[in-house]
C-alpha cells in the first residue's frame, strides 16, 4: 500500500500543494480585505474551504486513474482491490488531516482551543468521512454521478439539520450541545469513522466484481 500512496503523492503533489496553498492563502487575503471580521466567520471560511477541497481531492485521486486509463494497468498488477481503495483513501486522509491541522492552527486555533476541541475533532472526522465518500463514490460511479454524489450527501445532511433547526430549534440546540459533551465525542468520532470504513468495504466488494471496462472512462 505504501508504494501506491507514494505514487499518488508523486502524481498529485503539485495539484494538492497548489490548492492547499490557495486554501491557506485565501483567509489571509480575506483578513487584508476585511480586517475586522470575527474569528467565527474566519473559522467558517476555513471549514467551508476544507470541505470544498475534500470534494476536489477525492475526485482528483480517482478521476485521473479512470480517465487516463492507468487503473487498467493497476488492475493487471497483483494489487488487491482493498489495497487499491484504501491507498487512495489513505492518501486523501494524509492531505486532509495535514491541511485541517495547518489551516486551523494558522487561522483559528483560538476559536477551537481549548474550549471547542471536540468540535475540531468532529469536523475533522466529517472531513474524513466526506473525503472517503468522494474517493469511493468516484470509484463506484462514472464522472457525472461520482462528482455529484459527495456534495449531494453533504447537502442532504446539511438540509436535514436545517429542517431540524427550523422545526424544533430548542430540541436541536439541546441535542447539539449534548453531542459536544466529552463523553459523546469519542463514540461519535468512532461512529463517523466506522461509517467511512463501511463505505470503503462496500466499494471494495463492488470493485472485486467489476470488470475493468466499467472503471475506465
Amino acid at each position: 500500500m505504501r508504494a501506491l500512496i507514494r505514487k499518488d503523492v508523486h502524481v498529485h503533489r503539485l495539484g494538492m500543494a497548489g490548492t492547499a496553498a490557495v486554501l491557506l492563502g485565501l483567509p489571509a487575503l480575506a483578513g487584508l480585505v476585511k480586517p475586522d471580521a470575527s474569528e467565527a466567520s474566519g473559522t467558517s471560511l476555513i471549514v467551508n474551504l476544507n470541505f470544498i477541497l475534500v470534494l476536489v481531492w477525492g475526485d482528483w485521486l480517482v478521476s485521473r486513474e479512470k480517465t487516463k486509463g492507468t487503473i487498467g494497468w493497476l488492475r493487471t498488477l497483483p494489487v488487491p482491490e482493498e489495497t487499491m481503495v484504501t491507498a487512495k483513501v489513505a492518501t486523501y486522509m494524509l492531505g486532509c488531516v495535514s491541511l485541517w491541522i495547518a489551516s486551523t492552527v494558522l487561522y483559528c486555533r483560538h476559536f477551537y482551543f481549548p474550549a471547542r476541541w471536540r468540535e475540531w475533532v468532529l469536523v475533522l472526522c466529517a472531513l474524513m468521512f466526506f473525503g472517503t465518500v468522494s474517493v469511493c463514490g468516484r470509484f463506484r460511479f462514472r464522472q457525472k454521478l461520482g462528482q455529484v454524489l459527495p456534495p449531494l450527501v453533504l447537502g442532504v445532511l446539511a438540509g436535514a439539520y436545517y429542517v431540524l433547526v427550523r422545526m424544533a430549534p430548542a430540541e436541536t440546540a439541546r441535542l447539539t450541545v449534548r453531542g459536544m459533551q466529552p463523553r459523546f465525542v469519542v463514540p461519535e468520532a468512532a461512529g463517523i469513522l466506522a461509517l467511512s470504513v463501511a463505505v470503503v468495504w462496500v466499494t471494495v466488494a463492488w470493485l472485486r466484481r467489476a470488470e475493468t471496462f466499467q472503471l475506465v472512462e
Binding site: A3, L4, H10, G72, W73, T76, L77, P78
Partner: protein, 300 residues
C-alpha cells in the same frame, strides 16, 4: 461455409501444455466472443490477427482477468485460472495498445512501483534491460515515445519474470525502425526464455510474420484459423473447380470466392488432391495474406 477451429480437429496446437482456453465465451452488449478453444505453448509467440472489433482485445482482456468469462475455462498447465486470481497476475504482463503508465512518474519510479507490487522482481535485470533498450531512468514516462513506452512495458514484464507477455497492437503507429526493433526484441526474449509465452495482437502482417510462431485469426468473435506460421507458409494453396464438394478433413482452412473453393489442404490431403481433376495450385502458395483475406468468406 464454416469450419470448426483447427484445434478441434487435432491440430498440433491442441495440447495441455502452457495456457489453454477451452470453450471461452464472453457475452457483451452487441458482441459475443467465442466459444474459443486455443492453446498457447511455452517458448512460442502467438500472433492474433483480425479486423477491428473481431474480439482480439476481448480475448486478451479475458486472459488478463480484466473481463469475466461468461463461459468456458482458462488453465495454465492444467491449473484453472479464476476471476481475481492474484497469483495469476504475478505471472503475466499485459501491454495495451494505449500504454497507460503514470505520465508524471519518471521511468525509475515506475519500475520502483512495479517492483514494490510484484513479489518477484529482479531490479538488476530491470536496470540491464533499461540499458539494453536505451531508456533513460530519469525521463518522465509522459515524455517517452510510444515505442519507448512499449519497451518500458516489456521491461516491467520481464523484470517480474512473467510467464506470459501479451501485447495488444504494440506496433500501431510506430515507424518501421522501431517496429523492426520490437520484432527483434520479441524473438530474443523467446530465445532467452523457453518457458515464456508471447501473444502479439496486430493488424500488421509483417510484424506477425517476423515475430510469431503460431497464427490465430479471429473474426466476428470466433477463431476461424489457427496454425503454425511456418507450416502454413510452406503449404500449398489450391483452387478447386466449380462444383467441388469440400470434405472438412481435407482442409486446414478453406473458403469460397467467386463460386470456387480455395483451400489450404492438410498434409495428408495435399498429395491426393494434387492429382484431383480440376484442382489448381495457386502460385505463391498459402501466404498469411491469402489465408487472412480468404477467411473473410468463412463467417460473412
Amino acid at each position: 461455409m464454416t469450419f470448426p477451429p483447427t484445434a478441434d480437429r487435432g491440430s498440433p496446437l491442441a495440447t495441455q501444455q502452457g495456457l489453454l482456453l477451452k470453450g471461452v465465451e464472453k457475452r457483451l452488449p452487441g458482441f459475443h466472443l467465442g466459444p474459443v478453444t486455443l492453446s498457447l505453448r511455452p517458448g512460442r509467440a502467438c500472433g492474433l490477427l483480425g479486423p477491428n472489433g473481431a474480439g482480439k482485445t476481448t480475448l486478451l482482456n479475458l486472459i488478463a482477468l480484466q473481463l469475466r468469462l461468461s463461459d468456458g475455462a482458462i488453465t495454465l498447465n492444467s491449473a484453472p485460472i479464476v476471476w481475481g486470481d492474484a497469483a495469476w497476475k504475478e505471472r503475466f504482463s499485459y501491454i495495451r495498445e494505449t500504454v497507460a503508465f503514470y505520465d508524471e512518474l519518471p521511468v525509475s519510479a515506475t519500475l520502483r512501483l512495479a517492483g514494490d507490487l510484484y513479489q518477484q522482481w529482479d531490479a538488476r535485470f530491470a536496470a540491464e534491460l533499461l540499458d539494453r533498450f536505451q531508456l533513460d531512468p530519469r525521463k518522465r514516462v509522459g515524455t517517452l515515445s510510444k515505442g519507448n513506452k512499449v519497451k518500458l512495458g516489456i521491461v516491467v514484464a520481464l523484470a517480474h519474470r512473467a510467464d506470459l507477455v501479451m501485447l495488444d497492437e504494440p506496433t500501431a503507429g510506430l515507424d518501421p525502425t522501431v517496429r523492426a526493433e520490437l520484432q527483434t526484441i520479441l524473438r530474443e526474449l523467446l530465445a532467452a526464455d523457453p518457458q515464456l509465452i508471447v501473444v502479439l495482437s496486430s493488424h500488421i502482417f509483417e510484424d506477425l510474420e517476423r515475430a510469431a510462431d503460431d497464427i490465430v485469426i479471429v473474426r466476428h468473435g470466433r477463431v476461424v484459423f489457427q496454425d503454425e506460421l511456418r507450416s502454413l507458409e510452406s503449404a500449398p494453396l489450391y483452387r478447386m473447380r466449380e462444383g467441388y464438394v469440400l470434405e472438412n478433413a481435407d482442409a486446414r482452412v478453406a473458403w469460397t470466392r467467386s463460386g470456387r473453393v480455395w483451400m489450404v489442404p492438410t498434409v495428408e490431403a495435399a498429395e491426393r488432391l494434387r492429382s484431383f481433376p480440376g484442382c489448381e495450385l495457386v502460385p505463391g502458395g498459402a501466404t498469411l495474406d491469402a489465408v487472412y483475406h480468404g477467411t473473410e468468406h468463412l463467417c460473412a
